[in-house]
Amino acid sequence: MKTLSLAAGLACLATVAQAEIPIFTVLTYDSFASEWGPGPMIEKGFEATCACDLRFVTAGDGAALLARVQLEGADGAGDVVVGLDTSLTSKAAATGLFAPHGQPAVTGLPIAYDDPLFLPFDWGYFAFVHEKTLMAVPHSFEELAASDLKIIIQDPRSSTPGLGLVLWVKAAYGDRATEIWAGLKDNIVTVTPGWSEAYGMFLEGEADMVLSYTTSPAYHLIAENDDSKAAAVFAEGHYMQVEVSAKLAASHEPALADAFLAYLGSEAAQEVIPTTNWMYPAMTLAKGLPPGFDSLFAPEKSLLLAPEKAGDMRDIAVEEWQNALAQ
């Protein structure tokens, strides 16, 4: 009984202590907030300066995250969103749920990107990852289509990398996209709902290549000391994924939201990104990229459809993909 009342008293104290500092809510995707993602370190770093209690609320991936923001609508509880990507931003802007971030444009991207609502915090290139032992690595979609290599891709209707791939083909080939997909049809072992199933199946040996990122080999090298994976360089260029953060118009803590976005763009937060989110930081780090990232190739050509164009192209590109593969 004594312990009970003691516990009750402590619980009261805890509530009082919590009530004194504001709760700051970050909506993000699952792997950002997980123990292995950048979330915990960024939470610790920001809480050291903000006198607030930062809490993550998560959704499965970037697309699910936007759906979550839309579900909550104009009276949502979130303050900032971290983890939309450029194929979603035009749709996100159209919801009217975001407020201008007011931060200076980031400098670490290979392309110019300046948007009043969305602020990049990391980026990477899509690429097909394979074992280094693979013979005759293809160097374009056309070579891949002509080969008898087996690949696993993700569904553009349920995953952001899958959507990135159809936009990649569309950006590189335009009206020839359907033809490219028809050529790739016999190479595609299967289409998975999300990235993790595809990558898991690739690691189990179900295919020669899997759609992932140019930075994927760095994970194996740094975290597992395994030098056996590589990403194939494609001559038509590589489509970029730029991940952005944004401030919600409904935020109850707009000043904290500004401070958080500034913190996310600072060196302290950015240097966490490469070895937790396995993407490139949105700035040039003073101490450079971690060892292991230097072994990755930088594509000669970066492809990225402008957000409005990506928004317009999306439905057409997915339909072409579907028609070519479903036959």
Partner: protein, 512 residues
């Protein structure tokens, strides 16, 4: 009115189920109803029906000889084997897919043997792969449902058959076919409905967008297009399908009217000779088919046990608590509904089957929209998960209990009434002991299903409500495939342990 609705308690449960399933879909549809179905939706509907029918028919066609062989053969380790064979049904989908791939995939032993004898390697991807996976996942359930059927034939009837010198074929005609007539429609409809809402299995093993199901279309509408109206319309199509199937199953459903026995352990005559060999072969093949992917899951998971993340224990405790609570909730609701339907309140029967056609995603979204204006949804994450998991398990438990509840009522109803047994005493003295076997098995199923479920929590999760399946998904999403396999093994072991405990309670307490 009150008379037609039946007793008030079960009717309330029925209304709660309708509110959670149909109601949440309507909640989603309130935004902007959209009934415009594109050609992609029609294709998805066609593929959904095709794969679900094939999966249901094949699962049940295999389950009949398998359950019969298991019912009439006694061998060392039989009980253990029967419990183990239930395991595939309890696997989280991603884990099951990776286990199947380890056996039937490109680098798996099946293809190694095939190529060694000079035949072209086969690919698991395609319609046949989807059906294979669905049979793997559902054969255990169908078998257990039918096995319950065999065990429900009173031992005295088989003895009589033996005394009358009935050959096995005549026993089959007079005892086993009537039993199958009451148990098979339930098994068929359950497997069909389970496959109807399949999403990850169909897409991953289907080999491409041609293998899209309705559930994928719902996911796409909800998550990618944020077209709530379209998602709700698709969900209602799924409901309509479920209703038709449940009604068809209802038409064939009847009590075999064996009459009461003394409740002795049935000793089903076990013919020797060729029949014995065939039974043995059936059991061996099924065990090999069901257990090798399971062994692969264990082998893949063992190395990862060394690198389990610190949050695992907490997530495990959370998952177990939700599982036990939702199992108890589901089994109580199912028992109440089954007894009421057995007494003649038939409108509750299709209602109890409704959750099978409910898309977890739509249900979660509807609840989110309902809760969101009042409270931050992540604060209710665990409660909502518990409630949704219990609702999702309800149809299985109901289906398991219904034939037994009918038999109980037919055999012991009048006796109990004439003794004036009612309320808690009747529950304790008659209902629970007579129904212990399906109650234990059902609660075990509900607990294990809840352990493996990812659906709703993914929508509601805050940082303090990570469950074990969510943890597995996060590990996979962060490249940590080995740790994910380890955590998945812990998940499978915990699900199975819960299932085992409940199931064992059922067998122990089955009235002798």
């Amino acid at each position: 009115m009150a008379k037609r609705l039946g007793p008030i308690g079960p009717a309330l449960i029925g209304f709660a189920v309708v509110a959670l399933t149909l109601g949440s879909a309507m909640m989603t549809a309130v935004q902007k109803p959209d009934w415009a179905f594109g050609p992609a939706d029609v294709l998805a509907l066609r593929f959904t029906l095709l794969q679900a029918s094939l999966s249901a028919v094949i699962s049940c066609a295999l389950a009949v000889p398998l359950a019969r062989a298991l019912a009439r053969r006694h061998f060392l380790g039989r009980t253990l084997l029967i419990r183990l064979m239930a395991a595939p049904f309890l696997l989280p989908v991603v884990v099951a897919i990776l286990g199947l791939l380890a056996v039937f995939g490109r680098a798996g032993p099946v293809n190694q043997i095939i190529t060694a004898i000079g035949v072209q390697p086969m690919s698991i991807f395609g319609l046949h792969g989807v059906v294979l996976a669905h049979v793997f996942l559902n054969l255990p359930l169908a078998t257990r449902m039918l096995l319950q059927g065999w065990q429900s034939i009173p031992a005295e009837r088989f003895r009589l058959a033996v005394t009358l010198d009935m050959p096995p074929s005549a026993q089959f005609r007079h005892l086993e076919i009537p039993m199958l007539r009451s148990h098979l429609p339930g098994a068929l409809s359950i497997v069909f409905l389970l496959c109807l809402t399949s999403f990850a299995v169909a897409l991953t093993l289907g080999g491409g967008p041609g293998a899209s199901t309705l559930e994928l279309a719902i996911y796409q509408a909800l998550r990618f297009e944020f077209d709530l109206g379209h998602a709700a319309a698709l969900a209602l199509v799924q409901f309509a399908l479920c209703f038709v199937v449940a009604l068809v199953a209802l038409r064939f459903d009847e009590n075999p009217k064996f009459g009461a026995g003394l409740g002795r352990e049935p000793a089903i005559p076990a013919p020797g000779g060729l029949r014995k060999i065939l039974d043995g072969l059936m059991i061996f093949c099924a065990a090999a088919f069901l257990l090798t992917p399971l062994a692969a899951v264990i082998l893949r998971g063992l190395p990862g046990l060394g690198s389990l993340p610190p949050g695992l224990a907490e997530a495990l405790v959370r998952s177990v608590l939700i599982a036990v609570a939702s199992a108890l909730l589901a089994i109580s609701a199912a028992l109440s509904l089954a007894m009421t339907v057995a007494r003649g309140t038939r409108w509750l029967e299709p209602v109890a089957m409704l959750p099978l056609a409910a898309s977890g995603l739509v249900m979660g979204t509807g609840l989110f929209l309902a809760i969101h204006p009042i409270l931050p949804p992540e604060r209710l994450a665990l409660l909502v998960t518990l409630l949704v998991n219990a609702t999702m398990a309800l149809p299985f438990l109901f289906r398991l209990l219904l034939p037994e509840a009918r038999a109980l009522l037919a055999d012991y109803g009048r006796l109990s009434d004439s003794l004036g047994l009612s309320g808690a005493a009747r529950l304790r003295l008659v209902t629970i002991p007579r129904l212990a076997r399906p109650l234990g098995f059902g609660a075990g199923l509900a607990a294990a299903l809840s352990m493996g479920d990812l659906g709703v929590i993914a929508l509601f999760a805050g940082e303090r409500s990570v469950t074990l399946p969510l943890l597995v998904q996060r590990l996979m999403g962060a490249y940590r495939m080995e740790a994910a396999a380890g955590a998945a093994l812990v998940l499978v072991a915990a699900s199975f342990a819960l299932f085992w405990l409940f199931d064992r309670w059922g067998t122990r307490h089955a009235a002798a």
